[in-house]
């Protein structure tokens, strides 16, 4: 373990951390802008040109708000809730391959923090952990509405994780690898993207990703109309800010995951035919990857301002009675097609 290696990784980690936070920050603005445009208005445009200082103002405001911890709340857990939420949201980005490799001098820098051979499982575990933040927050608040929100979050997360995992199994049957780096590297060019072989699996994964991020139409944990505000009713100041931040980071990470798993990650059409040097391919690849992520984030917002919220029983019906059977059918179908394909 040489020093340069550690420096390289620390720089990469900090860079990704900063990018994640900035994107999460500006997602809040983008959300409001998208909402505005879809409702025939401008959205926030007073703070700076086009409102680009709005997230800074909001963040600054959060820090100056009074911090309230309810008298009967469990203090430790109450503080741990948002902490866990934000940490689990952030660590997901560790295994995502942001690009190929950069060659500077004689150093080859991999644009991925770590390539563990169970990357997909790791992501899955992190996603599963994230519900703890919400659960702890809702439980520790000692508030019925918060608890209801937390219970909903837990049950929703568990039900949709099954379908998500099953849709991933079909994908893994195609890729034959659990390493995200390997999966992305396989999808070279345009025709090899996994979306072409796993369209149904992608659809299931997409729906589950919405549910895991508790985004509309599955935002039952924080539905304002029924539960006042859901699991974060008792939170104020930056703790509330962290919860909201965690949600946007989730959105970013799951967008990155979906682009990496199904839309070829950093791969773009004609990447080797254009005769570019490896460094240029990597740089363009990173930009393409981020373009895909932004497209997904936009899609998240687009859906949010289109669909109403599911009722709780509808949510459960969809998860258990439709998505899980569909995902299993997808696995069987994938298996049959793979065998037929191999025989030919």
């Amino acid at each position: 373990m040489e020093v340069a290696f550690i420096v390289e990784k620390v720089l990469l980690v900090s860079l990704i951390f900063v990018i994640t936070l900035v994107i999460a920050m500006y997602s809040t603005l983008a959300e409001r802008k998208v909402a505005g445009f879809m409702q025939d208005r401008f959205g926030p445009d007073r703070a700076g040109p086009f409102g680009i200082l709005q997230p800074l103002c909001d963040g600054g405001k959060f820090f100056f708000k009074e911090e309230i911890i309810p008298a009967d709340a469990h203090r430790t857990l109450f503080i741990m809730g948002p902490t866990i939420a934000i940490i689990t949201a952030c660590i997901g980005s560790a295994v995502i391959p942001w690009g190929q490799q950069l060659t500077i001098g004689d150093r080859v820098i991999e644009l991925q923090v770590t390539d563990i051979n169970v990357g997909v499982l790791y992501m899955f575990g992190v996603v599963a952990l994230s519900v703890y933040g919400i659960m702890l927050g809702g439980w520790a608040s000692n508030n019925k509405f918060s608890l209801m929100g937390a219970v909903r979050a837990a049950s929703q997360s568990i039900s949709y994780e099954i379908a998500m995992g099953l849709s991933l199994i079909a994908l893994l049957m195609v890729t034959q690898s659990l390493s995200l780096k390997e999966i992305v590297a396989q999808q070279e060019g345009f025709a090899n993207w996994n979306i072409w072989v796993q369209p149904l699996g992608f659809l299931i994964f997409l729906v589950c990703a919405f549910a895991e991020c508790s985004r509309v139409p599955f935002d039952l944990p924080e539905c304002e109309t029924e539960l006042v505000g859901g699991y974060n009713v008792e939170y104020s100041s930056m703790k509330l800010g962290l919860y909201m931040f965690a949600e946007y980071i989730h959105m970013f990470v799951s967008s990155a995951l979906m682009s990496a798993l199904y839309f070829g990650g950093y791969n773009f059409p004609f990447m080797y035919e254009l005769g570019l040097s490896q460094n240029w391919i990597t740089i363009i690849g990173v930009l393409v990857f981020f373009a895909k992520i932004f497209a997904f984030i936009f899609f998240f917002m687009w859906i949010r301002w289109t669909l109403p919220r599911f009722r709780y029983d509808q949510l459960m019906n969809l998860g258990w009675k439709m998505l899980i059977p569909l995902a299993i059918a997808n696995i069987v179908l994938t298996g049959i097609i793979t065998i037929i394909y191999d025989k030919l």
Binding site: V34, F37, M38, Q39, D40, R41, F42, D45, W302, I303, W305, T306, L307, M322
Partner: protein
């Protein structure tokens, strides 16, 4: 009961068919609607920078007019106060003294003239009642304020500034 308008429709409640049950077609329909709105022209007027033109007969804040020689036209007859349905106008009249001919057109003038902008309903009846063409509601919006007393506008706010006919401009001070 029999429908009189013939517009009555009996809603038919049937179980959802397959395409409705998988939601996707409906979701795509919704998505196209929202994306159409995304690219639509936005009717918002960015208010402080852009102001919509008022209609010609917009009734805003009152102004007490002067005549060609810059004298106040108001003679404090009280017809505006009498016509006011909201009892917003009050005044105290005074007699014009020698040497004040350049200030007031008539022998009697309003020493105090007050309009309570919280009472005023901007109906324009004072304008119609005035025999001297001394009051018009041709100003801008009456702006917000913090205290009730500040909504009682006196002559300092109501009388229009003197117009310098020789130089065709408003006096500087």
């Amino acid at each position: 009961m029999q429908s009189l308008s013939n517009r009555k429709k009996v809603l038919e409640q049937r179980p959802m068919n397959f395409w409705e049950r998988i939601y996707l077609p409906a979701i795509f329909k919704g998505l196209t609607i929202t994306i159409k709105h995304f690219f639509k022209r936005i009717p918002t007027v960015r208010y402080p920078e852009v102001q919509r033109p008022y209609s010609k007969n917009f009734r805003g804040q009152h102004s007490l007019k002067r005549d060609e020689q810059g004298r106040e036209r108001c003679t404090a007859c009280g017809l505006c106060a009498l016509s006011c349905p909201a009892e917003a106008i009050s005044m105290i009249s005074a007699e014009r003294q020698k040497g004040e001919e350049n200030l007031y057109r008539e022998e009697k003038y309003a020493a105090v003239y007050e309009i309570n902008m919280l009472r005023c309903i901007f109906c324009g009846l004072c304008e119609e009642a005035c025999p001297k063409e001394a009051i018009y509601l041709d100003g801008p919006h009456v702006t917000a304020d913090y205290l009730r007393k500040d909504f009682i506008y006196g002559k300092d706010k109501l009388v229009e500034p003197r117009f310098d006919y020789k130089n065709q401009q408003e006096p500087t001070a």
